[in-house]
């Protein structure tokens, strides 16, 4: 089966709060090609996470639709889409291994097979020997790697990542980015990666879309034609960074100003 791409059409969503309703997304359309690594870049509060939650089927849009592999979404479908969040959200009462097994358990995979798959995933993410540890015994980067392994265990063709390295320190963040690129190269998954870091977007993506401040719309789209491994100090990267910054600067300021 060919990997199904993502089509987002005219998506709108308003959040109802105590002070009335706030538009989060307005008329977003976006197509992600198979095997593409797409980064959604935008100021905080621009609705990037909402967009990802809608693509993942966790949130229903007010208008518009999402098609995964041509079919409209109707709730989360882990066989097609796996998600990773900024907060790893590991189940504290489960070991690293048992966390990775969670999705397989729900699919009724046998205990022996689950264990085998989970072990096979924790090894390459550098967590061999940590299978029996509980989340509280792991560092932030390790927790996020377990969460990613848990998402990869579903073996879905699409991976949605909502600022997965946002809570990590700079060094860990860079290493995790490299590691993720390795995974992507090996599995050829379609990845939609949300971040507000220009650097992260430039290092990781094939394509970058910039969103406007609330309500979120797509403002610009950039193909990143840089060779890998990417050198952030190269002239091309610096030029791209400047163009991205020009696009996002105004939006960031707007988001900054409407901040209560």
């Amino acid at each position: 089966m060919s990997l199904p791409p993502i089509e987002v059409r005219d998506l709108s969503k308003r959040w109802v709060t105590r002070d009335g309703s706030v538009p989060a997304l307005e008329g977003i359309s976006l197509t992600v090609a198979a095997h593409e690594f797409l980064t959604v870049l935008g100021p905080s509060g621009c609705g990037k996470s909402t967009l990802l939650s809608i693509i993942g089927g966790l949130v229903r849009p007010d208008a518009g639709e999402v098609r995964i592999g041509g079919e409209p979404t109707d709730g989360p479908d882990p066989r097609k889409v796996a998600m990773v969040f900024q907060d790893p959200g590991l189940f504290p009462w489960r070991t690293a291994l048992e966390n990775v097994e969670f999705g397989l358990e729900l699919q009724g995979v046998s205990a022996a097979r689950r264990r085998e798959i989970a072990r096979g995933l924790l090894g390459p993410v550098g967590l061999r020997g940590f299978e029996k540890r509980y989340p509280r015994e792991l560092s932030g980067g390790m927790k996020q790697r377990v969460a990613i392994a848990r998402a990869l265990a579903l073996d879905s063709p699409i991976l949605l990542m909502d600022e997965p390295f946002g809570a990590l320190d700079e060094q860990t963040r860079l290493l995790m980015g490299e590691w993720l690129l390795g995974i992507w190269t090996a599995t050829r998954k379609t990845v939609v990666f949300v971040t507000h870091s220009l650097q992260e977007a430039i290092v990781l993506s094939q394509r970058i879309v910039v969103m406007t401040a609330r309500p979120g719309r797509i403002k610009a789209s950039f193909e990143v034609g840089l060779p890998s491994p990417r050198d952030l100090a190269s002239a091309e990267a610096t030029v791209l960074r400047g163009r991205l910054w020009a696009e996002i600067r105004e939006e960031s300021r707007r988001a900054f100003e409407v901040e209560p």
Binding site: G56, D77, M83, D87, F91, W93, T95, F102, L106
Partner: protein, 248 residues
């Protein structure tokens, strides 16, 4: 080890002070430890109250029945009100308010409804044990990390799997604490009920000995009640620790 030694020293000191002080008071009202020990011996040898085993047995049965009811109804109502979030928000203040009323004010009406027999003790024990359980269920459900539910849904968990694999393990610690508090209070409820008015049970014997100014027997029976409470709560603590380890 040093803590244990200090504890023993404090205990011996307190008992010694009690002994010295009580020895100079009216022996009808003040009993030194040296007289409680023989009284306890006669009590356990079934010399003073030959029917002690039946009384104790009745108290234990009343506690078990009352606690069983408190757990069953507490869990049932707790999940019924707690799982739909808004219902929990509506009822929790009401339940907390009822819980805050000193329960002993209900006891006279329970006696009217259920009579002097075991039923009123069971009702009172249930009343005391029920609230900690139902409130622990509500607090436990509320304490579950919402983000974990989102993650579980994204991994393909429906409502049933979310409940079994996320809500239940997430609330275990809170729930166990409530179940243990409920057991301790059920025991208190049954004993208080028996002391206030009954025809049998450990509390009844305590009241009986007290009424006849058999102060040494009274103190020995109170010591027995203490042992009962410590044993039951100790067993609950062991179960709680096991369950905690099991759920991580």
């Amino acid at each position: 080890m040093r803590v244990l030694a200090w504890r023993a020293a404090v205990l011996v000191g307190l008992l010694g002070a009690w002994e010295l002080w009580a020895g100079r008071q009216d022996p009808l009202l003040y009993i030194p430890p040296s007289k409680i020990v023989p009284a306890l011996g006669r009590l356990l040898a079934l010399e003073t109250y030959p029917s002690l085993p039946e009384h104790l047995g009745l108290t234990v049965v009343e506690v078990l029945v009352a606690y069983g009811l408190a757990v069953a109804l507490g869990l049932g109502l707790g999940f019924l009100l707690g799982l739909p979030r808004h219902l929990g928000e509506i009822y929790e203040p009401i339940l907390s308010g009822l819980y805050a009323i000193p329960s002993v004010v209900w006891y006279p009406s329970l006696m009217l409804f259920f009579g002097l027999g075991p039923a009123s003790k069971i009702a009172f024990g249930f009343l005391l044990g029920f609230f900690p359980v139902v409130l622990a269920v509500l607090a436990g459900i509320r304490s579950v990390d919402r983000h974990l539910l989102t993650v579980a849904r994204a991994l393909g968990a429906g409502p049933g799997a979310c409940f079994v694999k996320v809500v239940l393990p997430g609330m275990t610690a809170t729930l166990l604490a409530g179940l243990r508090a409920g057991l301790a209070l059920t025991l208190v409820g049954v004993l208080v009920g028996e002391v206030l008015g009954a025809r049998a049970g450990l509390g009844y014997l305590i009241n009986y000995a007290y009424g006849l100014l058999r102060t040494a027997d009274y103190a020995a029976l109170a010591a027995l009640a203490l042992v009962l409470v410590v044993l039951i709560d100790g067993a609950a603590a062991v179960v709680e620790a096991r369950a905690r380890r099991w759920t991580g």
